[in-house]
């Protein structure tokens, strides 16, 4: 029998099977991730700082990938950030048109390596714009990256 070239519409006629793998995940944020997410609750963006080479990682890592030593020091970065790149999405994950396009930015922080991808808006938003995070109201923060609503032009 030839392999079906089209998506199956009647599985019974082909003696094929349907099944799904029924599992879900519960992840730990990890040592550095835990610090990072708790920082959001306080309205802070934390970097981990290597005491050997001075490199500061956003998001924080518990080790320096260059020196390969453990990092125990955490420092606040920002809130001032700079837009390094922008993208405008017109469709969602499944390819359906969004009600209105959504702008994403990759933002970086002075003195830190790495950065964050997040929603962004504001007058004159472009590459090089100075932006800052707008956090949710304190009582509504849950310790995820969505505690930041978006980055807005300062």
């Amino acid at each position: 029998m030839m392999a079906p070239l089209e998506r199956l519409t009647s599985v019974e006629s082909l003696r094929s099977w349907t099944d799904q793998i029924p599992f879900h995940y519960e992840y730990t944020a990890g040592v550095a991730g835990e610090r990072f997410l708790r920082g959001f609750k306080d309205g802070r963006i934390l970097a981990s700082a290597c005491e050997e080479c001075g490199k500061r990682y956003v998001p924080p890592k518990m080790y320096c990938t260059d020196c390969f030593v453990e990092i125990r020091k955490y420092e606040e970065v920002g809130p001032a950030a700079t837009v390094a790149a922008l993208a405008e999405s017109y469709v969602d994950f499944e390819g359906k048109a969004l009600a209105r396009p959504r702008t994403f930015a990759f933002v970086t922080f002075k003195g830190a390596t790495g950065g964050l991808i997040h929603y962004a808006s504001g007058k004159g938003l472009g590459v090089g714009s100075a932006v800052a995070p707008r956090f949710r109201e304190k009582g509504k923060r849950t310790g995820t990256v969505l505690d930041i609503e978006e980055f807005v032009v300062r």
């Binding site: 099977w17 099944d19 599992f23 519960e26 730990t28 990890g30 991730g33 990938t65 390969f68």
Partner: protein
């Protein structure tokens, strides 16, 4: 071909659930192995990492994800994978990196984080069974292990109580392992009365699921001698994969393990393994598997392993200590990390650094073995002082 030495080892605690991410555990084990060797990251020329299905950690392309925690960034780095046999296959892969002359050093890391997967890590195996003849029945891994255990018991007329002795020994040995997850002083009666899972397999016949990482540092002879006066040598490696049709072989004996062992013995010029191997870390995710594998690697005749166990030969103070670490039954079973843990144990035992776990007799050569896939792969390494 260059001689390859192990010059450092390290491992995290094995636990049901760790706060550390897989990357962070990989870092901790890698850093310990480097510290124990006296090396820094600049001294690491290549990295091999082993980790079992992506479905455990819940991170697709897990090899790439774990890389920077294993010191792989901007280095020749690769992930190897042969199911449950991965843990002993990673140092084999590390060995060929160095033996080939391509690299003078290779960091070898095994990682597994099984706790993210719910309802149970076993679900990762949902789709490994044949979808026409097996999956409609709701087959679990326990079913085939139970069939295999029963077949082994039937062919050699082995009593369940003799198999339980392995669990008693290994969980007891693990009391002396600082990283152990399930060390315990238990009795045969405890095993026999433990919860039936899929008889003859009962709760205390089985190793736990775990999070953990372990690592060893390999070096060529020239480089090894700069770091230590008494390196431990990898003198034999072997691996072998049988057909994926587990139905098409007699389950009482792991012939693929024998083939892997024979490959390693040929390389190490071992013609009488019972005399030339002083102790072994064979793969023990289930208690009967230790017996199965002792026979597979030719350290016992077919059907003889239960007798040796009953007579105390395999205890730490016996003539042929088996799993002095406490094995997977006692230390824990983060799949790929568990196999590397066994190689770490060979290193510590051969260096005389195993502390309270140090076997009583003088040891010059040890063997580690892992097993996996659908009852089909055997991986073997022998190490010598």
């Amino acid at each position: 071909m260059k001689r390859v030495a192990v010059i450092g080892a390290g491992m995290t605690k094995f636990r049901r659930r760790m706060l550390e991410t897989g990357r962070e555990m990989s870092f901790e084990a890698s850093r310990m192995a480097m510290d124990s060797a006296g090396m820094e990251i600049k001294d690491v020329e290549s990295v091999v990492l082993g980790t079992a299905p992506d479905a455990f950690d819940g991170v697709h392309m897990k090899g790439e994800y774990l890389m920077d925690g294993a010191g792989g960034t901007n280095r020749p780095y690769s992930r190897v994978y042969v199911g449950g046999g991965t843990g002993v296959f990673v140092p084999v892969a590390g060995w060929w990196h160095v033996a080939s002359g391509q690299f003078d050093t290779c960091l070898v890391v095994g990682e597994e984080k099984m706790s993210p997967l719910h309802p149970h890590p076993q679900y990762a195996f949902w789709s490994i069974f044949d979808h026409t003849t097996e999956r409609p029945l709701g087959v679990t891994l326990l079913w085939i292990f139970s069939l295999e255990m029963r077949r082994y018991m039937h062919v050699h007329k082995v009593r369940e109580e003799d198999i339980a002795l392995v669990s008693v020994k290994n969980k007891g040995n693990a009391l002396d392992h600082p990283c152990a997850q399930l060390p315990a002083r238990i009795t045969v009666d405890d095993v026999m009365k433990s919860e039936p899972i899929c008889l003859p397999v009962k709760r205390l016949d089985v190793s736990p699921t775990s999070d953990g990482a372990a690592a060893v540092m390999l070096a060529s002879e020239d480089v090894a001698r700069k770091y230590t006066d008494d390196p431990v040598w990898i003198d034999g490696v072997g691996w072998n994969v049988d057909t994926q049709y587990w139905t098409n072989r007699d389950l009482y004996y792991p012939r693929y393990v024998e083939e892997a062992a024979r490959m390693a013995y040929k390389m190490a010029k071992i013609d009488n393994p019972k005399k030339q191997i002083d102790f072994a870390e064979v793969y023990d995710p289930f208690d009967y598997k230790e017996l199965h594998h002792m026979e597979g690697v030719l350290l016992a005749d077919k059907g003889e392993a239960p007798k040796l166990t009953r007579e105390g030969v395999t205890q730490r103070d016996g003539d042929l200590p088996i799993n002095p670490s406490g094995g997977l039954l006692g230390v824990g079973n983060p799949i790929a990390a568990a196999g590397v843990m066994k190689v770490c144990e060979l290193y510590w035992q051969l260096k005389g650094e195993a502390g309270k776990r140090q076997v009583k007799k003088e040891v010059d050569r040890g063997l580690a073995q892992a097993w996996g896939d659908l009852l089909q792969v055997g991986t073997v390494i022998t190490m010598k002082r």
